[in-house]
């Protein structure tokens, strides 16, 4: 408790200090995250991911010092984010931009980013076409297509599902994952028999009616996309409470719904839940072991890494790479160029920035929630899909088709 207060005060101090301290070798990175409001928790994860990269890889950063100038993008209305970007570019003269939890913020910021001609690393915002809006956008996080498209195929093949019902939060990421899943699931011989818009992202709805409807339709799998966090835990609880597992309906979805920071809170209801995601804390590779260990040491044993944190971690890695490649100049075009085709050995496994789309190419892991010997919930890996691109842009669907 008090430690938190201290942390807050410390954060305050650090920010004021860093904002003033300026050395020849300094590279200023403007961070736009919703430090308040519904996205505050994700902001914290991403922020920590960035900080942790800098801490763990100080030697990579030398001889430069990276200064983070943090701005709150507040509610997901785009306005605060846009003004923040504007001022970071014109007042603080930052060398790079990073962050963006909400897609509307990234979309609203696009014209400014374009005019600013600085590298802008998207660390969470998931709407696929965002990277088309500015040639300075590079995404190290994910789009819904990465996981859902991969999952569609796996559901039909590995899980031998014939029919599926999709329940999704009725906003772009939700509709994206619906399209993505439907696309590949039906391409692999499955059939989506119903698609249920289950409330919006703002307020957690009671999922019972939606799941009741799904249960009545007796599909092989229920594919769910909802925002990580309360929505996800509510989903799992409702799934358990309605006894759908007993009714032989598998609950599957993108890794969002088993976000590690929420997993334990879901309780045993989550056991058997199968998700497709690019990261979970249980991934078995040296980079991740290092990452997780350092995290727990830094932020407490009961805190944990998750896919948003790794987005921040990889994003910071990308920025540092650009810094080194441009000798700290960080001219926008060069910085972006230096990242095209950039490969990195991330805690989530090998990743690469697609030279065409400036979006991430990464592995997707199909995993099942199991109870470990330690009595905690863990992700058991069932299959890996290598080098997954953003399907939406790959298939040039709707607004994802690159602008000419």
């Amino acid at each position: 408790m008090t430690s938190r207060v201290m942390a807050a005060i410390a954060a305050f101090a650090v920010m004021t200090v860093t904002a003033t301290a300026a050395t020849a070798q300094e590279v200023k990175v403007g961070v736009i995250l919703p430090y308040t409001g519904v996205g505050a928790e994700l902001a914290q994860q991403i922020d920590r991911g960035m900080q942790l990269y800098l801490k763990l890889n100080a030697d990579q950063v030398k001889p430069y010092t990276i200064t983070l100038i943090k701005r709150d993008s507040k509610a997901p209305d785009g306005a605060a984010a846009k003004v923040a970007v504007q001022e970071l570019l014109t007042q603080d003269k930052v060398d790079a931009l990073a962050g963006w939890v909400y897609s509307p913020d990234a979309i609203a910021s696009a014209p400014v980013v374009n005019a600013g001609k600085k590298l802008a690393v998207i660390m969470n915002a998931a709407t696929s076409f965002i990277t088309n809006l500015s040639t300075d956008y590079v995404r190290t996080s994910f789009t819904m297509w990465h996981s859902s498209y991969a999952l569609g195929a796996q559901a039909a093949t590995t899980l031998h599902a014939k029919t599926a019902v999709v329940a999704y939060s009725d906003y772009p990421p939700g509709r994206d994952s619906l399209d993505a899943f439907k696309n590949s699931f039906e391409a692999n011989g499955g059939k989506v028999i119903d698609a249920i818009p289950a409330g919006g992202p703002g307020v957690v709805p009671d999922f019972t009616p939606f799941f009741q409807r799904a249960k009545d339709e007796k599909p092989d799998v229920l594919f769910v996309f909802v925002p990580a966090g309360d929505h996800a835990s509510a989903v799992v609880k409702t799934y358990g409470a309605l006894g759908m597992a007993a009714a032989g309906i598998k609950l599957i979805g993108p890794g969002d719904i088993t976000q590690d920071i929420k997993l334990q809170g879901m309780g045993d209801a989550a056991i058997g839940l199968i998700t497709m995601g690019h990261y979970n804390a249980d991934l078995d590779n040296p980079q991740n072991h290092r990452f997780v260990a350092a995290w727990k040491q830094e932020y407490g044993a009961d805190s944990t890494t998750d896919f948003t944190a790794v987005g921040g971690y990889d994003g910071m890695a990308a920025i540092v790479h650009a810094v080194q490649a441009t000798k700290g100049k960080m001219d926008g075009d060069d910085a972006v160029k230096s990242l095209l085709g950039w490969k990195f050995d991330s805690p989530q496994g090998p990743i690469m920035i697609d030279p065409e789309t400036r979006d991430i190419i990464m592995n997707e892991y199909l995993s099942e929630v199991v109870k470990g010997p330690d009595g905690k919930l863990h992700e058991k890996q069932l299959a890996v899909v290598n080098d997954v691109k953003d399907g939406c842009k790959a298939l040039a669907i709707g607004p994802c088709a690159p602008k000419k």
Partner: protein, 291 residues
């Protein structure tokens, strides 16, 4: 599946959703009816209580019931404190000043929770007895929902009896009916208000804790759900406990049913319903005319 079970599930789901709404809102209704005080910060007390309850369970590992009691007491205490020190000064102020004040209060609650607990949302872990499904003979349904419905019913009966049978209850009803008259009859309205305010906040706290299973619990809570609380109060009719109960359940069930059959409608129904109900009865289902 057969209609009966389907209908039952709609009813149960709707009722449990409505019950949460009721438990949180009832205090707001009575205090607004009593003093005409626009206490938008009511949800903040629900949030505060919810945090106490959840943290007590998750961090201090206190039992469910004990945690609820603790939440109730703590929230009651802080509400009395705030009422005595601050709210009191604004009784005679215009409603807009009250809006300004209570919104400010919400902001403070939010910020303090972020600083002390952190921005992450809290998970409530129900005691095993309340998890999973319960066999009602005619249908299976999630135990917690049924638990909520029962709790809600007991609560409303309790409060109702309190209103009908106790002296304070009578005074409250008199004051809601006609404040001037009540004052001229020597009823100490301020004291009444302190009591109802404290009790209402306590109820809100319980609601925050019980609702966490469905609604989650994070620093945004007080703002996120404010509209729903206000809807329940206005549709029910200011100051009417039974009104809020019926309104909450009605909205809960209708919303649930429409979601089940026309999910495309999203959240549109609850608002459409409210508009229709309020145009039909501007003073609310159980409200006195001329508010």
């Amino acid at each position: 599946m057969d209609f009966a079970t389907n209908f039952a599930s709609i009813l149960l789901g709707g009722l449990s959703a409505g019950t949460v709404l009721f438990i949180v809102s009832v205090g707001l209704s009575v205090t607004m009816g009593l003093m005409g005080f626009v206490n938008l910060a009511h949800g903040a007390f629900a949030m505060f209580g919810g945090y106490i309850i959840v943290l007590a369970m998750n961090r201090a590992h206190i039992g469910f019931t004990a945690a609820l009691a603790l939440g109730f007491i703590a929230t009651t205490a802080i509400s009395v404190l705030l009422e005595r020190l601050l709210y009191r000064r604004l009784y005679r102020a215009g409603e807009l000043d009250q809006v300004l004040f209570t919104i400010g209060l919400i902001f403070i609650f939010m910020a303090v929770i972020v600083i002390v607990v952190g921005p992450e949302s809290q998970q409530i872990t129900l005691p095993p007895a309340l998890r999973g499904q319960l066999n009602l003979g005619f249908t299976q349904y999630r135990t917690f929902s049924i638990f909520l419905i029962v709790v809600g019913f007991l609560t409303v009966t309790g409060i109702w009896l309190g209103f009908e049978r106790t002296r304070i209850g009578a005074q409250i009803r008199a004051t809601v009916d006609n404040r001037r008259m009540a004052e001229s009859l020597g009823i100490n309205v301020d004291r009444l208000f302190t009591i109802t305010f404290a009790f209402g906040s306590g109820m809100a706290a319980i609601g925050g804790g019980l609702g966490a299973e469905f609604l989650g619990l994070d620093p945004q809570y007080a703002l996120k759900y404010l509209v729903y609380f206000l809807i329940a109060v206005s549709v029910g009719g200011l100051g009417s406990v039974v009104g809020v109960y019926c309104a909450s359940l009605l909205l809960g069930v209708l919303d649930f049913m429409l979601k089940l059959y026309v999910p495309k409608g999203g959240t549109i129904f609850i608002y459409a319903l409210t508009i229709l109900l309020l145009l039909w009865r501007p003073q609310g289902l159980f409200g006195k005319k001329e508010t």
